[in-house]
């Protein structure tokens, strides 16, 4: 069996490198969410860091919410919210530094029939992805809005 342990229904996967400023937004976000003590039985919050392969983290999830820095060419701090299907088909925008790892892992799961039923990406346009442990003020400001969107998505999936 591929899936020895039952996977939770909803997964929040934060991705990014904490050492590269705004690139670490996904990790800052899941840390914040962990402090919230959210009361959903089927929710798993994962700090994926810069792991290159996520397949076994998220296989068979009912809903996968990826939180990441997204380079879409808009103003720093701009929030993006889209379904993975758009990116899987024609890669319309450049995601974060590790975009291919996420896409490859999901592609692999799709090919073996283990992909999450619904995957969305919620991200923020970074300002600074140079070495540093701090978020830029623009991106920091977006964290609260990001949280609101993610909570709505969790509620939708949980209902």
């Amino acid at each position: 069996m591929l899936n020895e342990l039952a996977q939770p229904k909803i997964i929040i996967l934060g991705i990014g490198n904490l050492l590269l400023g705004d690139e670490g937004i996904g990790i800052h976000f899941v840390r914040m969410l962990n402090e919230d003590d959210l009361d959903y039985a089927n929710l798993e919050i994962i700090d994926g860091g810069i792991c290159p392969e996520f397949a076994s983290f998220v296989e068979d999830a009912h809903k996968l919410i990826i939180v990441d820095a997204v380079k879409g060419g808009k103003k720093p701090g701009t929030i993006y919210h889209f379904s993975i299907d758009a990116v899987m088909v024609d890669l319309p925008m450049k995601l974060s530094l590790h975009q291919m790892d996420v896409i490859d892992s999901l592609k692999m799961l799709k090919l073996v029939g283990r992909e999450p039923k619904d995957t969305i990406i919620i991200g923020i346009e970074p300002k600074n992805i140079d070495c540093g442990l701090e978020l830029s003020p623009e991106v920091k400001k977006g964290l609260a809005e990001l949280r609101k969107i993610v909570i709505e998505e969790i509620k939708k999936a949980d209902s």
């Binding site: 490198n17 904490l18 810069i50 792991c51 392969e53 076994s56 983290f57 692999m108 070495c131």
Partner: protein, 428 residues
């Protein structure tokens, strides 16, 4: 062969960005370079000024594939600086956690990154149609390794339960027993892996070089022991700078290394060449089946050494869990007393020997750091391999030469994202 002009920008299926350039005219080689183009990261500078506990959390973020290696090297450097004594239980858990990463990384490499070369396809994706069982096996092994990392390290990647002086979270007996069953079942998957790879054609290329790895009389070393060279014998890890001798080259943002010869190799094959007699029985059997004999001087065999090591890590994990269960787990509290000093941590990351070297002040604030990664140590050996290989295959087609060079680079399983860092230059 009249003209050869190979420019591979961003070699695929390696972590990070790198280029291969070969120029030849009328059979005469003008240029062969292996270059790292990824922008440098200033990890050492970032660690300076941090409290030792923060250093422990930052270090695993250096790399997503070998975060447990960076975590362990970092923790051991701090422990050496403070003179922390570890319990037997901590060492057993640390070794077990470490095996999880070796397995995670090796499976990723031999199935997802190297196997497509040997099976004649461009990536792992086409294998889903032609070799579905292979892909499912790879995912099963990867999941097992991730779950072992999670059980002992607190997370599948970037561990958070291992700290300076010990652990802050401990597995349940029932979880260890379940893991033991899964590890036992995984041996079948690994035996199938041996069967698959022994039937594949490995390029025949020999270039003698020096092999450097940790060596410990207690067993096949991953997180303990002295530095061992197949040329010069052993030396304590405190002498690591005499082994690594990092230097800059014009074509690369990463540093290169050399020791007794013009280059040396670290990683699975270097470990095998230094420590083959300490492999556990099933791993020994696999070496025979795969035709891997020490000293092996064919870098394309690194992939096979990784398969052998994967079997060893599963066998040893079973032994370690037996020992932990037999002695019982207690919730020990780490006992750390901060003091000024310098300490060096050396571990065998999946790609080879990794050093973290820290100096702390009286308050446990890091004032100096140096990190020497295995991929940096291998760059020079890759360059020398290419310089030897290309003249031997110069009469092949440009496509064949390119393929062999890319396969060579991939065999080393380089992790370039964390190997790139600059020298600190002071202008006066």
């Amino acid at each position: 062969m009249t003209q050869l002009n190979i420019n591979v920008h961003h070699v695929t299926r390696v972590e990070g960005h790198s280029n291969i350039t070969v120029n030849a005219k009328d059979g005469k080689i003008k240029e062969i370079t292996w270059a790292i183009t990824e922008s440098p990261r200033f990890f050492e500078a970032m660690l300076r000024g941090l409290n030792y506990e923060d250093v422990t959390w930052i270090a695993p973020r250096i790399c997503g594939i070998c975060s447990i290696a960076h975590s362990t090297a970092s923790i051991q450097a701090t422990e050496a600086a403070f003179g922390v004594q570890l319990s037997e239980q901590t060492m057993l858990l640390r070794k077990l956690l470490y095996h999880a990463e070796t397995l995670q990384s090796h499976v990723l490499h031999f199935y997802f990154l190297a196997a497509p070369d040997f099976l004649g396809v461009g990536s792992v994706f086409p294998l889903v149609n032609t070799h579905k069982e292979l892909v499912l096996r790879a995912l099963r092994l990867k999941k097992l390794a991730n779950d072992l990392a999670d059980l002992i390290g607190g997370r599948k990647t970037h561990p958070n339960s291992c700290v300076v002086g010990g652990f802050v979270k401990f597995p349940e007996v029932s979880q260890l027993e379940t893991m033991q069953q899964r590890l036992t079942q995984a041996m079948d998957d690994l035996k199938e892996t041996v069967k698959l790879f022994k039937g594949l054609e490995i390029p025949d290329f020999i270039r003698e070089t020096e092999y450097i790895a940790l060596k410990d009389p207690q067993g096949y070393a991953f997180i303990s022991g002295d530095i061992s060279s197949t040329d010069t014998g052993t030396t304590p890890i405190t002498n690591y700078l005499e082994m690594t001798n990092e230097f800059c080259v014009p074509q690369s943002t990463a540093k290169f290394s050399k020791h007794n010869r013009d280059s040396y190799m670290v990683g699975a094959l270097a470990r095998f060449n230094n420590n083959y007699s300490q492999l556990l029985p099933e791993a020994q059997k696999a070496t025979e089946e795969l035709g891997l004999k020490a000293l092996c001087h064919n870098p394309y065999m690194i992939t096979l050494a990784q398969i052998v090591e994967s079997i060893h890590t599963v066998e040893d994990s079973l032994r370690l869990i037996d020992q932990i269960l037999a002695r019982g787990l207690t919730e020990e509290k780490p006992d750390v007393k901060v003091k000024a000093g310098r300490g060096i941590g050396a571990v065998e990351a999946p790609r080879g020997i990794l050093f973290h070297d820290y100096t702390y002040d009286d308050n446990g604030i890091l004032i100096e750091a140096n990190c020497v990664t295995p991929t940096n140590q291998n760059h020079n050996n890759i360059q020398k391999d290419m310089e030897t290989l290309v003249p031997r295959i110069i009469n092949k087609t440009q496509e064949e030469i390119t393929q062999m060079l890319e396969m060579l680079v991939r065999a080393y399983d380089p992790c370039i994202s964390c190997s790139a860092h600059f020298l600190e230059v002071k202008f006066v």
